[in-house]
């Protein structure tokens, strides 16, 4: 087994370049190393000017998402050994503007996320004296899968619809809306529906399903979107049959 591996890393330095370029680095090959370890080796030993986001190294923080050989991956969970002896190509997540090197601009997502109110909405909080909001394990299971989302944006990089139409709300935001809709303590589904029943909400989705395929936390955003479509369609028919009903 070779004792080195080469990394082709996209560089973009806006102060001196107008286009991203590729730079090749040779790093030691260790079978327990992930792509993020290789990037940190480059940063520490070879080229301190390389910029990339990372924090927890264990698939919790969601900051080290990058394209590895063209696929959106968490670089802390992507082993060099799966690509060796071939070179590994590391690029910033697609569908996002690049700030610098491997760092993407995620303001678009940060603006969209609060629009679906991803928190528990109550018409009226019950007084503290009445105790906690209780939930059965079955009720927890309803939404638990969607609550695993770490906002790593791999699903946005994988979604061709988001690539074509940046107005699309996108997989993670819809899955997170569903996470709170399915929570028995929540009363905000109507407000979220206002936002998501628009064309840029759920109806923009064309059932490609790549979001679910790339999700490192097995959240299944595609499933969330299809479930949401069903409830939105039911609402739509209800508003026809009972136009006098509550809007």
């Amino acid at each position: 087994m070779a004792d080195t591996i080469s990394l082709q890393v996209i560089r973009y330095r806006p102060e001196s370049e107008t286009e991203p370029t590729t730079q090749e680095y040779t790093v030691p090959f260790r079978k327990e190393w992930v792509v993020l370890d290789a990037l940190n080796y480059i940063k520490d030993q070879i080229d301190g000017t390389l910029s990339f986001r990372w924090s927890c190294r264990m698939g919790i923080c969601g900051s080290c998402g990058m394209m590895v050989n063209g696929e959106p991956k968490l670089t802390c969970a992507t082993f060099l050994a799966d690509y060796a002896p071939n070179p590994v190509r590391v690029e910033p997540l697609t569908n996002f503007p690049i700030v610098r090197d491997l760092v993407i601009e995620m303001s678009d997502f940060m603006r969209k996320l609060p629009r679906v109110k991803p928190w528990i909405v109550r018409d009226q909080e019950k007084p503290l004296s009445e105790g906690e909001y209780r939930q059965t394990p079955e009720e927890l299971d309803e939404y638990k899968q969607y609550s695993m989302c770490i906002n790593c944006l791999l699903c946005y990089a994988a979604c061709p619809v988001y690539g074509l139409d940046p107005h699309f709300m996108g997989p993670a935001a819809i899955a997170l809306a569903q996470r709170y809709n399915l929570d028995t303590r929540d009363e905000g589904s109507k407000e979220r529906m206002e936002e998501l029943s628009q064309h840029e909400g759920i109806w923009g989705c064309t059932f490609v399903g790549e979001c679910t395929a790339v999700c490192p936390k097995h959240v299944d955003p595609a499933g969330a979107i299809q479930r949401y479509k069903l409830s939105a369609a039911m609402d739509w028919f209800k508003s026809f049959l009972m136009p006098w009903g509550k809007k």
């Binding site: 619809v161 139409d165 206002e194 064309h199 109806w203 064309t206 028919f237």
Partner: protein
């Protein structure tokens, strides 16, 4: 209330069409494409088949199955054109082609079924 869109109706037809197509078309394919040609079961006679298809309920079944499958295909093909060829700006034309096509073929199905003696 948000802006009215017809998308929920189209999606419901797509969804229902998918379910119907996935559940029932394999039955016809299995019977008339595999079981009868291979002689695994005795094929019904022409007279019995005509009698069966002549029944209003059979015709209704065939009509619903074909129409819903066509509407499903129209919706799927529309989005394939959007994403695959990236021609979403031709939205109206694509809708006319896909859903119009499904409606025309549904009418043709109706005519065919109508003319069975």
């Amino acid at each position: 209330m948000a802006k009215r869109t017809i998308e929920p109706l189209l999606w419901t037809l797509f969804s229902a069409g998918g379910v119907i197509a996935a559940l029932f078309i394999p039955i016809q394919l299995l019977l008339f494409g595999v079981v009868f040609p291979l002689g695994l079961a005795e094929a019904p006679s022409r007279e019995r088949m005509l009698g069966l298809i002549g029944h209003p309920l059979t015709r209704l079944y065939l009509f619903v199955m074909c129409t819903m499958a066509l509407l499903h295909a129209a919706h799927r093909f529309r989005f394939t054109l959007y994403d695959g060829l990236q021609i979403k700006h031709l939205n109206e034309l694509i809708n006319l082609f896909c859903y119009g096509g499904a409606i025309v073929l549904s009418i043709w199905t109706l005519v065919l079924l109508w003319h069975i003696p």
